[in-house]
Point group: C2
Chain length 330, copies 2
């Protein structure tokens, strides 16, 4: 009888585990921890990628799958090609990739896709490859947001400056969104000076200094990059113009956030990097598990169509003195 009891107990436990497994299996949104999704970046050690990978990890935790982070440690095209090819050879469940350059990775990306490994890009695209989707900040829209915010702060009136990096596509888009919005939507505002910040703090401080001298009535400036913003903030502080000139900058590195906290930089635009990682992982999981069904007759593979959204603009959020604490010490 004791034996029977033990047998029944074992049966009970088995039933319980089967129940658990069945329930897990019931949800198409639960994967296997054996499926590993890989994020591949370049200059892989910088802080900038951390929220993106955190987003990927959180999506993977919700989905019950694994992730791994890797990348080229340097800003080196060949290095990223090598790292990507190594990742492909390990046949991961999917690859979330930011491309060092629009064309360098087309070959490996297409080979991965042909081998059945889905690739989605984030932050920097490889538009001529066969990748399924791209998640990033719309730099043009970020420039629009900067323009609207500076207009709001100044009752839609006054002269503005712009310090950017000419010749670099993402910065040109930010500048264009800013300039077109001021020109089209604010008849009493004008961008009177556009300077090259050279992505350098000291150069940007000098540019800002001479901009103030030439335009003493300046009410605001948009800096399209973080060290540019810090340089401009230093110059505005030195010129004792903090109350006169509003600065809107980009990204949330510690130097920028300190100037937001002290009120010298009025706002900085935080990119939606967490969302790039989170929804990038969601997209890859849906591809891997065959959950996308955009057409009713047959499947998208046979029809030769892209089953995913082409592009996700993850947006920017304004970080001001009111909410800077939530971004500090990340």
């Amino acid at each position: 009888m004791k034996k029977l009891l033990v047998l029944v107990m074992v049966f009970a436990l088995t039933l319980s585990f089967v129940g658990m497994a069945a329930a897990q299996g019931d949800s198409p949104l639960q994967g296997s921890m054996e499926d590993e999704y890989v994020m591949v970046t370049f200059v892989s050690g910088i802080e900038y990628w951390k929220p993106a990978y955190r987003g990927m990890e959180e999506a993977a935790a919700n989905l019950g799958v694994s992730t791994r982070y890797t990348g080229a440690t340097d800003y080196d095209i060949n290095q990223q090609v090598t790292v990507l090819e190594q990742v492909i050879s390990q046949q991961p469940a999917g690859i979330l990739l930011t491309a060092i350059n629009p064309d360098a990775l087309v070959g490996p990306i297409n080979r991965a896709m042909e081998a059945g490994i889905p690739v989605v890009t984030f932050d920097a695209d490889s538009p001529n490859s066969n990748r399924y989707s791209f998640l990033a900040t719309s730099n043009y829209e970020a420039g629009v947001k900067a323009a609207n915010y500076l207009a709001d702060l100044n009752d839609e009136e006054g002269n503005l400056g712009l310090i950017t990096i000419p010749g670099q596509l993402n910065h040109e888009e930010r500048a264009r969104g800013f300039q077109e919005t001021i020109a089209n939507d604010y008849p009493n505002m004008e961008v009177v000076s556009v300077q090259d910040g050279q992505s350098d703090q000291a150069a940007s401080a000098r540019a800002m200094g001479s901009m103030i001298q030439a335009n003493p009535d300046l009410v605001g400036v948009f800096t399209t990059e973080a060290s540019t913003g810090v340089g401009a903030a230093t110059a505005v502080e030195e010129a004792n113009m903090v109350d006169n000139i509003d600065i809107v900058s980009f990204d949330t590195d510690p130097g920028t956030l300190d100037f937001v906290e002290s009120g010298v930089i009025d706002a900085t635009l935080a990119q939606g990097t967490w969302n790039m990682g989170y929804w990038g992982q969601m997209f890859l999981f849906h591809l891997k598990e065959g959950l996308l069904n955009p057409i009713e007759n047959g499947n998208w593979q046979e029809a030769g169509i892209n089953p995913l959204p082409d592009y996700v603009d993850t947006g920017v959020n304004l970080v001001t003195q009111d909410n800077v604490e939530f971004y500090m010490g990340e």
Copy 2:
């Protein structure tokens, strides 16, 4: 002893159910069937919304939540306001809304958001409301795709026509994407004629007829709307120019698909409506369940930021003779 056995069996079954429940509860991506998410449209009976609602239903099935479809039956602003306010009063888990007009629904949308009911828009936006995100076709990018396809078909050479609806924003964007791409990327191609199709089949056929007479060397035409494409196809067929003039049209209604099948329309652009519904439901679920965590310190509500991507371009797919069968009889 028999009693003990029965007791152990009951214990076993209980354990099994507890196991199942625990496993279900383990996944943050499983909701409750009591949570109902509602899609609200206008002219709610048309075929166009069906793939969007199917996408929403499929996401809801994966997530274990309920959905309901409703909308204004007519193209009537007040009617949609009334329907939306009724939906809000029932306190659903979330609302996926297409807005009849950019400004008419700002009030009710913002009231829903204040009441804690998340709102996401699709297909047609309410950009001045507080809605979290917008999922739709980028009409500009669709125009770019049409231009590239006509260029590919004609070895990047020859004169093109465009039949559109001037003054309607989505059509102007499609036209602009098309014209700018031809002007900037194809030096041996030119858009030599732009006509108003008046969203009418007969008017479009007449416009196409006179376009052919004035430009007998035409190699292709882009029609930005479905009845325009059908009208143009009729005229091209009548003029015996099917082999000379390639047509790229928009959407996948039965008349257009018939002309794609017979080869008169070379390609039509299918919108990603299923993806609007699928990812719109995913976004609403994540808002309702508190699964979004874009900042590390505190939560996004306190920080006053938008936790979701601003905009999703659901993209367009080319439907040609090769894959038209997958779109027919939907």
